[in-house]
């Protein structure tokens, strides 16, 4: 919402400065977005050409002496055809910035003659496109004074960033009312006097869609002369960014801003028969004032005559019945439209107008008729003519909302005591009616404030005018104890996984939740319910089923910049379906190139090899361990999802059902689909699938039992079928004696012709911890026999000879 200072002062009697007004507007909730104080026009002064002589070396130039008011004439070289002795115009001295040519003037020589400034055209001052000559002012223009002030171009323009709840402040008058209520002056011009008319309006209105049109006022003014509107009106409209058209149209725009009352004018000679307010029909079309044709539907409200649709109600008028310089009889319309319908129609048709802006917020129903009267008054003043009476259709009148306000509510919600008298005074000044004098008063809401519904709204009115800055901060009641844990298990695990992965040399990425459809499909997603209807870009269309595609794509972007060895992770949401439960919390990471835990690339002490399945496995287990998963009970199995390499991947399970994650290298078709290359591995850990830790009564750790007997290690090498998994073998060895065997590690895996076709050797180191006595040779032999026996039973393997 834009307006000028002088316009505001038509409605507000105040001595306040521009700065004070701007500050107050912001502090009462009408946030000032920008102020143009017209400083750009300050350098231009009115000056008189004393002499004008032909330039000695140029036919089209003249050398002027110019009186700029200080009695010392200056020499100016000028190319304007209308420059002549005696002309009074706008002069810019050296040092001035001329906006129309984007030049800061300096003393210069033009064809050998010094020029000390410039006589300006309107275009050079960006006042209009006029550039046939320099500005030519009347003879009485005061030489030496500000040109902007003389031409009324120094009127500051204020733009406020209006919140959608304040239709009353879409008008200069409404803004003045708020300022007056805040004590910054007195409101003027509230009452609009009716203009007497003669006879009935000959064009009748019938409302066939009363649910969309709660009122319609119409009046005819005959015998108008529609030329340009006066300069003062044009200047105000130009200042707020509106193009003057003709007096009748300018009046509707002026009243729209002056009183927040959008109007429409029809050229009566172009209206056939009576007007009907109805819903749009199949095939209805209208060429609107913006020169575009719109197709209308039954969801929209139109004003039609015998010719068809003449106007899109509350949004935009039609070109056909618009007013131009030939208009002699004008129909002035002031109507009420259902806000939601105007909003929806405007949105559907893609039309943004000052009328829609006001109607969708809600115009003052009680100003419908005064709006016609105000417009009539202006039409008569500017265009002449004889008005009929105003014909009002369908308006049932306005019943004010009444809200009970316990005055203690102000203190309850704001913490500050505003004296009762002041509270009531503020409400009254804002136009609310107050009755009752007890602790609870009845407040009636003015017709221009549809946003006020309840007592909290009234508290806001009181406090914004009283001054929010007057509320002193008060501590929020403190806890009388040390604060306990505030994070949930999932939140703690999310943080732990992040830190644990970062400690492994990985960098945390935050990638988009929406990814290209083809990427989603590669990772088990892409269902319709997770496709955005209105994605911001075609490749940001589907909610990600996995963090991997985003991370892999990010790694490729880095590789394309020459950084191919990257390790990235993310701990965030993935989407299995569109329910709250379908959003999973996943820790996921990838390594590319040679970005191994210990470092990447070449090094004198040994070059890092390509990343592979075991790098991803180690990351996955580290993430699980950081999240407190029971790492000693995890099972690693084959059968990872299809996007992994089937022979170089695994799933991590807890028991037969709970899948905690997957890891591995990727399927070549996955990488092809993502259009990426290079050694890559990755993992996904479902943080939300890890069981909650069991609650324990104390934090005491189990007692540490240290054996007095020396621990021993024994090595075994087994020859097994190639398909046998090392995990099966180590589990079998461990199970041979759960009491004595404390650990089994694999220290060698070997395949070779010597072992036979389809065989491999797995060498393990078994840690044995005697607990009751030192073991004898016989004890060891018996234990070894049990290990070999169990391994044989579980894997079919035999001790390597």
């Amino acid at each position: 919402m834009k307006f000028t200072l002088s316009w505001l002062k038509d409605h507000l009697d105040t001595d306040a400065s521009l700065d004070q007004i701007v500050e107050r507007l912001t502090s009462i909730g009408l946030e000032v977005e920008s102020v143009d104080d017209k400083a750009a026009l300050k350098p231009f002064v009115i000056a008189k050409v004393l002499t004008a002589n032909r330039h000695p070396d140029a036919d089209k130039l003249q050398v002027l002496t110019v009186d700029t008011g200080d009695g010392k004439p200056v020499q100016v070289v000028c190319g304007a055809p209308n420059a002549r002795a005696g002309l009074i115009g706008a002069f810019a001295a050296p040092g001035a910035y001329v906006p129309g040519i984007d030049v800061t003037l300096s003393v210069g020589k033009i064809r050998g003659v010094e020029s000390h400034g410039m006589m300006c055209s309107e275009r050079e001052l960006q006042l209009s496109d006029e550039h046939n000559g320099i500005i030519d002012l009347p003879a009485d223009a005061p030489v030496g004074t500000s040109f902007a002030a003389y031409a009324h171009l120094d009127d500051p323009v204020i733009e406020i960033n209006l919140t959608p709840n304040r239709p009353d402040a879409t008008s200069v008058h409404g803004i003045a009312r708020d300022l007056a209520a805040s004590g910054l002056g007195t409101l003027k011009g509230g009452k609009v006097e009716p203009v007497a008319g003669d006879g009935e309006c000959p064009v009748k209105v019938s409302i066939e869609a009363p649910e969309l049109c709660p009122g319609f006022a119409l009046r005819l003014v005959r015998g108008v002369k529609n030329g340009p509107s006066p300069k003062w009106m044009q200047q105000r409209l130009l200042a707020i960014g509106l193009r003057p058209i003709n007096a009748l149209v300018d009046i509707t725009n002026y009243v729209t801003f002056d009183h927040g009352r959008p109007l429409h004018v029809f050229d009566a000679s172009k209206v056939a028969g009576n007007l009907v307010v109805r819903r749009g029909r199949e095939g209805d079309k209208v060429l609107a004032l913006d020169g575009r044709e719109y197709a209308l539907t039954s969801e929209m409200c139109v004003i039609a005559d015998d010719n068809g649709v003449e106007s899109i109600a509350g949004v935009m008028g039609g070109e056909h019945s618009g007013c131009d310089e030939n208009t002699t009889d004008v129909l002035i319309e002031s109507a009420l439209w259902a806000p939601l319908n105007v909003a929806r129609t405007g949105r559907t048709l893609g039309i943004i107008t000052d009328a829609r802006y006001r109607f969708e917020r809600g115009v003052d129903p009680e100003f419908m008729v005064p709006g016609v009267e105000l417009a009539t008054k202006l039409v008569l003043e500017l265009c002449g003519g004889q008005p009929t009476r105003t014909d009002v259709t369908g308006y049932a009148g306005h019943t004010a909302k009444v809200v009970s306000l316990p005055l203690s509510e102000v203190k309850r919600l704001t913490g500050i005591e505003v004296p009762k008298a002041e509270s009531l005074d503020i409400l009254t000044r804002l136009g609310f009616g107050v009755s009752g004098d007890g602790d609870v008063v009845e407040v009636s809401v003015p017709s221009w404030r549809p946003d006020v519904d309840g007592k909290a709204d009234l508290v806001e009115e009181v406090i914004r005018i009283h001054g929010v800055d007057n509320i002193a901060p008060q501590p929020l009641g403190a806890h009388d104890a040390v604060n306990g844990k505030i994070l949930t298990t999932l939140q703690i695990r999310t943080r732990s996984a992040r830190r644990a992965l970062a400690v492994r040399g990985m960098m945390e990425a935050v990638t988009w939740s929406f990814i290209p459809a083809r990427h989603a499909e590669l990772f088990g997603g892409g269902q319709d319910s997770l496709k955005l209807s209105n994605p911001i870009a075609a490749d940001m269309s589907d909610m990600r089923p996995s963090l991997l595609p985003g991370l892999i794509a990010a790694a490729q972007r880095n590789a394309d910049r020459g950084l191919g060895d990257v390790a990235l992770f993310e701990v965030s949401g993935t989407y299995e379906n569109d329910t709250a439960e379908g959003q999973r919390r996943v820790a996921s990471g990838i390594r590319r190139g040679t970005a191994k835990l210990e470092g990447s690339g070449r090094n004198w002490s040994g070059n890092a090899g390509n990343v592979g399945v075991f790098d991803a496995k180690a990351d996955a287990i580290a993430a699980l361990e950081a999240c407190g998963a029971p790492v000693d009970r995890l099972q690693i199995e084959t059968g990872a999802p299809a996007w992994y390499h089937p022979g170089r991947s695994g799933v991590i399970k807890l028991g037969p059902k709970v899948v905690l994650g997957a890891f591995g290298e990727f399927h070549p078709r996955t990488l092809e689909g993502l259009d990426v290359s290079g050694p890559l591995c990755g993992f996904e850990v479902y943080v939300d699938a890890i069981p909650e830790p069991k609650a324990k009564p104390t934090k005491t750790k189990p007692k540490l039992e240290l054996s007095a007997f020396q621990a021993v290690k024994r090595d075994f090498a087994f020859v097994v079928d190639k398909a046998v998994e090392a995990g099966t073998l180590t589990r079998a060895a461990l199970a041979a004696d759960k009491k004595l065997i404390t650990g089994v590690s694999v220290f060698d895996v070997f395949e070779g012709a010597s072992l036979g076709e389809g065989k491999k050797s797995i060498a393990i180191e078994v840690s044995i911890q005697p607990v009751e006595k030192t073991l004898t040779d016989q004890d060891f032999e018996a234990l070894a026999a049990r290990i070999v026996e169990n391994v044989k039973k579980q894997t079919g393997g035999a001790l390597r000879s």
Partner: protein
């Protein structure tokens, strides 16, 4: 010269000229071994008369002791030489670089770090952290938050929608973290003190707007919480978060459907230095958050009686306050995963924000 003296000289000379431990050992065996020259002499003592033994005894034993000492001295001398030689041989170039620790290479994204900073501050004020889903219903994102159907305020949210289901209802991506207010009220009785960090989405994209961004919402509901308390909480937060001793904040009346009264908050700052914003000084005002008293309709939608319970809520952009605090110029870079950016603006994994150790290093 007696035989003894001759022998001693010869032995000491052999010891001195022994060039390694083996040679020393050979001398020892030749002198003190079972059949060694000194041992043989000692054996002669038994056949001597008492008188003779009295003079020869000490002489031979003296010889033995001196030879023994000389042997051990030479041995230790040779060992020192050997160690010195070994050390010289073992010298390597210690300027060769070692690999950086993975804990130093890794990085935490600024968003995660700032969320941890926020949690540290509000944890101290007795707030819990609440979360909710990104894919939301129209009810939680709008209706329950007092956005009337078709109201222009809904339109200002530039919402991402999913296709309608068989009932004609369409899910959406939450446009703010406020749905979690309702979800919390539905499951928890007041007093409520929560902050809600999370991802939010709007159809908007330029240097300061991203279709995905992060917000943190705060909610306090009890029977007394008011605007004065809210001002205190927000001022304390801003001081703690920006790590300055004082801040000046300006509260302006504004409008949000889910609060009444509603306020927008500007913070005083100095933007005169390029690429840097200083808080608690300067002549500029910067808008950093919106807040207000929870609208009675929102309390009702959360199942609470607005005449019994009251409270306040606020929301601000995590990315935005992160950009302000750490001087990151472009929001779009947050989601690009450029490792050069992460390396530069990211945080070391062991730099955990705490109040006792300072939020940032």
């Amino acid at each position: 010269m007696s035989d003894l003296e001759t022998l001693e000289q010869s032995l000491l000379s052999d010891i001195a000229s022994a060039s390694d431990e083996q040679a020393v050992e050979a001398v020892r065996v030749a002198a003190l071994g079972k059949k060694g020259s000194v041992s043989e002499m000692l054996k002669t003592l038994g056949a001597m008369s008492a008188e003779e033994r009295q003079t020869k005894g000490p002489a031979i034993n003296g010889l033995k002791n001196r030879v023994t000492d000389a042997l051990s001295a030479r041995k230790s001398e040779l060992r020192d030489v050997a160690i010195t030689a070994r050390l010289v041989a073992e010298k390597i170039d210690v300027t060769l670089p070692v690999r950086q620790s993975p804990a130093e290479r890794g990085r935490i994204h600024p968003i995660s770090q700032v969320i941890d900073e926020i949690a540290a501050i509000f944890g101290d004020l007795g707030f819990a952290i609440a979360e909710g889903p990104d894919v939301e219903t129209d009810h939680y994102n709008f209706t329950a938050l007092n956005f009337p159907v078709g109201h222009p305020a809904r339109e200002m949210h530039d919402t991402f929608f999913f296709p309608p289901d068989q009932n004609g209802e369409r899910k959406l991506l939450r446009t703010h973290t406020s749905p979690v207010q309702i979800r919390t009220m539905e499951t928890q009785k007041p007093p409520i003190r929560i902050v809600i960090p999370g991802k939010t989405y709007r159809q908007d994209s330029d240097a300061t707007h991203s279709p995905m961004f992060h917000q943190v919402e705060g909610l306090v509901i009890d029977k007394t919480a008011n605007i004065a308390n809210m001002k205190w909480v927000l001022e304390e937060f801003c001081k703690a978060f920006f790590e300055v001793p004082s801040v000046k904040m300006r509260f302006r009346p504004s409008f949000f459907p889910f609060t009444e009264p509603s306020l927008e908050v500007d913070i005083q700052c100095d933007r005169s230095r390029p690429g840097e914003v200083r808080f608690g000084e300067g002549n500029d005002w910067m808008e950093i958050l919106g807040c207000g008293m929870v609208h009675p309709n929102v309390l009702r939608h959360g199942g609470l009686d607005p005449d019994e319970y009251q409270g306040f809520a606020w929301g601000m952009g995590i990315d935005r306050i992160a950009m302000l605090k750490y001087g990151m110029p472009d929001l779009r870079a947050f989601f690009d995963a450029d490792v050069r950016w992460l390396q530069h603006y990211g945080f070391r994994p062991l730099d955990m924000p705490t109040l006792f150790g300072g939020l940032s290093a």
